[in-house]
Symmetry: C2
Subunit: 83 residues, 2 copies
């Protein structure tokens, strides 16, 4: 069975996000001062072939921990759907 996954990897809430901070400042210069508290992370989409949803979830969790997410500075969340 094939599944699609949508993964978000974001900087931890307790940490400063300098990129988001800079973009928040740029919003003000563009006349969009009502936009605040921007945080920027990664959005990752992928396809996985697995016998069932539990195995697919475990494999993606593994991929996030081993490669996609630096758990010192980032956290991740994901959603799976059938292809």
């Amino acid at each position: 069975m094939k599944y699609f996954a949508d993964i978000n990897v974001m900087p931890m809430k307790a940490l400063l996000d300098p990129q988001g901070k800079a973009v928040t400042g740029s919003m003000r210069n563009l006349g969009l001062a009502e936009i605040e508290n921007i945080r920027i992370g990664k959005h990752i989409t992928l396809e996985i072939e697995a016998p069932n949803k539990e195995i697919a979830t475990a494999k993606i969790d593994d991929a996030c921990k081993k490669l996609l997410c630096n758990q010192i500075m980032e956290f991740y969340e994901f959603e799976l759907r059938e292809a």
Copy 2:
């Protein structure tokens, strides 16, 4: 009224995504060869103060077009929810 927005900015489907391609190769080296077709973009969260949802949507659309998304190479989608 305060709204939270979740924005995804992804490389266009017709374009190669070299970063995603490299990570797909690394999955194979990690023993996760069943993961394929990885694409990597940005996930952006922000807060916006607006009188109603229509205005908030229009402002975020504006922010995406002017600053967050390079529409030559990327597309965006977003969801709004009340704080």
